[in-house]
């Protein structure tokens, strides 16, 4: 597996989080308690007594101004909702799909490699058989036999190294589950803005999955420090047995 996939994933995740952060900030600025300055400005614009007495014409101006402000807020909310939907549907879904595709591809590749290694081992067995047919009784061990034994050991070691596929697959599945969860949360956040209120149509593809599928994976799965981690297990087993 190339290192490009995880780095792309990280980039996309970071971009998504920035987008969410920006959207939430926008929401706060538009109506939250964090931006009293804007609220104060609106309050002054809308209700502060003018220097001169307001006539019907002046009241009309105030209402038009207020209406314009409200429309602006609604427009910003629409944009925030749109950005959240985009984040949920595009920014998260694409890396999620890519991860699943990579995981599937590594499993297929691992199967192909194991098939090849088993065929190669069978060929070494055939070479052994052929060498046995042509050897004379009492003949000293030949160099070919030594090489065949070494080759068989190498092939067997390669089979063992294929465990990396299971471990990376668990890591990818976990990352994919995290993205699914993020997608669901973003979609729900987008729905905080009721489409009926703002007159926004919800695209069919924006519907989030019903729930994140529980995955049977170890997020800490690793190929590193095998001996040290086995030593920890051995110590616990020994302590329990004694």
């Amino acid at each position: 597996m190339s290192t490009r996939q995880p780095s792309e994933l990280l980039y996309d995740s970071e971009a998504t989080l920035r987008l969410v952060d920006s959207a939430i900030l926008d929401m706060g600025e538009l109506g939250g308690e964090e931006t009293p300055a804007l609220q104060q400005q609106l309050r002054i614009d809308l209700v502060a007594p003018p220097d001169e007495a307001i006539g019907f014409a002046g009241l009309s101006d105030v209402l038009v101004h207020g209406y314009t402000e409200v429309v602006g807020v609604l427009h910003s909310l629409r944009q925030s909702r749109h950005q959240l939907e985009r984040a949920a549907v595009e920014k998260v879904q694409q890396p999620h799909d890519r991860l699943l595709a990579v995981s599937s591809a590594t499993e297929t590749a691992a199967t192909d490699i194991l098939n090849g290694l088993e065929r190669a081992s069978a060929m070494v067995d055939d070479l052994d058989a052929i060498a046995g047919e042509h050897s004379e009784p009492g003949e000293p061990g030949d160099r070919g036999r030594t090489i065949r034994t070494a080759l068989r050991d190498e092939l067997f070691a390669l089979v063992g190294h294929m465990q990396f596929q299971d471990i990376t697959s668990q890591q990818l599945t976990y990352a994919s589950a995290v993205l699914t969860d993020m997608e669901v949360r973003l979609a729900h956040l987008a729905r905080v803005f009721d489409p009926a209120v703002f007159g926004i149509s919800v695209p069919a593809h924006a519907a989030p999955p019903p729930s994140a599928v529980p995955v049977a994976v170890d997020p800490n799965a690793s190929t590193q420090n095998r001996a040290e981690r086995q030593a920890v297990a051995d110590a616990i087993v020994a302590t329990t047995a004694s």
């Binding site: 194991l114 596929q165 697959s169 981690r229 086995q230 087993v237």
Partner: protein, 125 residues
């Protein structure tokens, strides 16, 4: 000795079976999760090697089910898992696994642990 190999990863099952054959245990039966393992258990199975993280029924659940079953409560169980946190290993041992291997494993470690479990079972008998 007939060994039941339980792992949801086809790659891992294949590697385990290959390794077992290499160290002299040629008779294996495979299951992709704990539930299938229970279905495939019969009197001919003498040893179980199981993963922890699996769908439907995990290796931990499988261990607990077997340890609570009168017929299977004494069958040797070796867990082979990526989980290497102390608390997890303690949990597995307390559930009833006889020994524990952290993935990725080597055939030498696999043989060593199988031998240890068998000798422990013999000593306990």
């Amino acid at each position: 000795m007939k060994i039941l190999v339980v792992d949801d990863s086809a790659t891992m099952r294949r590697i385990l079976v290959n390794s077992l054959q290499r160290i002299g245990y040629g008779e294996c039966v495979e299951a992709s999760d704990g539930r299938e393992a229970v279905e495939k258990l019969d009197a001919s199975v003498q040893f179980i090697i199981t993963d922890w993280n699996m769908p439907n029924m995990s290796g931990l659940e499988l261990t607990r089910v077997l340890r609570a079953h009168p017929e299977w409560k004494a069958i040797p169980i070796l867990m082979v898992s990526t989980r290497s946190v102390k608390e997890d290993i303690m949990t597995a041992i307390q559930a009833g696994v006889n020994n524990y291997i952290v993935k990725p494993f080597t055939p030498q470690v696999l043989k060593e642990k199988i031998d240890a479990v068998i000798s422990g079972a013999v000593a306990a008998a």
